[in-house]
Amino acid sequence: MSEVIRVEELHKTYRMGDIEVPALRGISLTIDRGEFIAVMGSSGSGKSTFMNILGCLDRPTRGKYFLEGEEVGSLSRDQWAHIRNQRIGFVFQGFNLLSRTTALENVELPMMYNGFAGKQRHQRAVEVLSLVGLGQRLDHAPNQLSGGQQQRVAIARALVNGPSLVLADEPTGNLDSSTSAEIMTLFQRLNSDQGITIVVVTHEQDIADYAQRRVMFRDGVIVSDERKDTSSKPSVDWSGRSKGI
């Protein structure tokens, strides 16, 4: 199965008192295994709502969501929790690590909810931490780590249960430009070497350039969906026409 995500006519409407606010107005999209996608749009465009549904945190009002061929939009909350544990990894703008907890323990956290034994957890955590380039400082707490290091820990945590999909919401929003580049390069490496499907939400074009495909949201619908036709280096024209740089 080459499709990781397929959404058909996804609608989401929020009710605020008497007023109905349509956040998504008919989204249809397919994402294949191994793709690296950037989702862009201003606030209110529906991209955050879309990510919440992709991440099994929110239920669509209408439409279907297939994750690896299985319809998940109508599952129970407990079943969603299981999916989030096993098949989806999250990376947030604010890192969202547990404070006063070591990097190692933070990475182990998802494994505590699927019953891995202590030694197994430790081994696996060390494995993914070296995968993201954090061999040392495993016993440091978040307040002893730089922003870039914290985000690496968060990425390791997202990968620890071997998910097929990683969802990153403005992962470089709290980082300076050079660290941002490091993190995005890391995502690229994970995508090309490990074949992990990655969806990044961003409002910065520089960050979106690291991805191979860019989906633009506006007012609850997709207004464009473009692929890069050449290499994955930034500053390449998106329209599919080579500009001879």
Binding site: L57, R77, H82, R84, F90, N96, L98, M112, R157
Partner: protein, 401 residues
């Protein structure tokens, strides 16, 4: 697994966990200590009353409306040694009888003197009061018949007049009349009124009447019943006998008053019991307050950890996992607080016993109940916060500032 998650979470903020437990610690400690004080008081009272002699009746002259208390120092003089003898011979449920006369006197021995309570008694006094001699002998019938000038000394008197020497065969003077010491009483300790029972000198009641007081009546008569369940019967029969002997008309009141020590003991025990229950209740209230404290702090904690709960849900924790985690946190805090409180309570009771000389008795049942109760408090007061945590929406929780 949830247990480990909960323990790690508690360890992450040790100060807050400790402060949360503080209420339970103090509450349980107070319950244990208060109940120990209550139990100690009950046991002491029981022992003190037992030391007075069981199944004892005290017959005093005067009417019930006069209170009948200590009317021996001038008051109505209606009791005689004849009454005592009649009771001894004719009332079957009565085992032993002794007249008792008492007066504070100064005792002189050599160049020392000591003020004490002199009691004129019969030989059967030792059986009624269950008082043994530690040396020499008690008074016997011959002493009574001859108005013997003999005395049996209580331990406090011996200590103050003779130090460590054996006083038997020594001579003491009461109102300048020489009495030969024939025996020393075993120690008895304090009465339930707080008086030193060993601060006394016993002489034959006939000597007391004729030599010291020059009276022919008897101030009180004490008697012991054959067994506890016949005390009431004895009391009734003595009443009838005395009314007859004193020729009291049917419509008139008794000219005497009988006090039943087991009534007094029952009253004292029940008031000690009430006190113990009250103390326990007050302490239980503080335990309740401790539980409310846990709930409040956990509610605050849930709010402060909203983001953390969101993160846990995002990586795969179900509502059930979150609920269980917070519930276990509450129970662990309550049980730990309870254990520390138990140690604190036992420690305080022991300290009170050594330093303040208060009798305390730690009851293992209360310890077990206190521990279980604190666990229950944890479950009960932790439930609402745990449920609140479990019902958070992950999206909102992750957005929480």
């Amino acid at each position: 697994m949830t247990f480990r998650i909960a323990l790690r979470a508690l360890a992450r903020n040790k100060l807050r966990s400790f402060l949360t437990m503080l209420g339970i610690i103090i509450g349980v400690g107070a319950v244990i200590a208060m109940v120990a004080i209550g139990e100690g008081a009950k046991a002491t009272i029981r022992a003190q009353i037992a030391s007075l002699g069981t199944n004892v009746l005290i017959i005093l002259p005067g009417t019930a409306t006069q209170g009948g208390v200590r009317t021996g120092f001038g008051g109505v003089n209606t009791l005689t040694e004849g009454d005592a003898k009649a009771i001894r011979e004719e009332i079957r449920p009565v085992a032993f009888v002794s007249p008792v006369l008492r007066r504070p006197e100064q005792i002189v021995a050599g160049n020392l003197n000591w003020n004490t309570l002199v009691q004129g008694v019969a030989p059967e006094f030792q059986y009624i009061r269950e008082w043994q001699v530690a040396g020499g002998r008690f008074l016997h019938d011959g002493d009574i018949e001859n108005d013997g000038k003999v005395a049996v000394l209580g331990e406090t008197v011996v200590r103050n007049l003779f130090g460590n020497d054996d006083p038997v065969d020594a001579v003491i003077r009461i109102r300048n009349i020489p009495f030969r010491v024939v025996g020393v009483l075993a120690p008895k300790g304090q009465s339930s009124q707080g008086a030193d029972q060993d601060d006394t000198v016993l002489i034959p009641y006939t000597s007391m009447q004729k030599r010291l007081m020059r009276i022919t009546y008897v101030q009180t008569i004490i008697a012991s019943a054959v067994s506890a369940d016949r005390v009431q019967e004895a009391q009734e029969q003595v009443t009838l006998l005395l009314r007859q002997r004193h020729r009291i008309q049917p419509e008139r009141e008794d000219d005497f008053f009988i006090r039943n020590l087991s009534d007094i003991s029952e009253a004292a025990s029940s008031s000690a019991r009430v006190m113990a229950v009250l103390l326990g209740a007050v302490a239980s209230i503080s335990l309740l307050v401790g539980g409310i404290g846990i709930m409040n702090i956990m509610l605050v904690s849930v709010t402060e950890r909203t983001r953390e709960i969101g993160i846990r849900m995002a990586v795969g924790a179900r509502s059930r996992d979150i609920m269980l985690q917070f519930l276990v946190e509450a129970v662990v805090m309550a049980a730990t607080g309870g254990s520390v409180g138990i140690l604190l309570g036992i420690g305080s009771s022991e300290i009170l016993k050594f330093w303040a000389q208060w009798p305390t008795l730690v009851s293992p049942i209360i310890v077990a109940i206190a521990f279980l109760f604190s666990g229950a408090v944890g479950v009960f007061f932790g439930f609402y916060p745990a449920q609140k945590a479990a019902n958070l929406d992950p999206i909102d929780a992750l957005r929480y500032e």
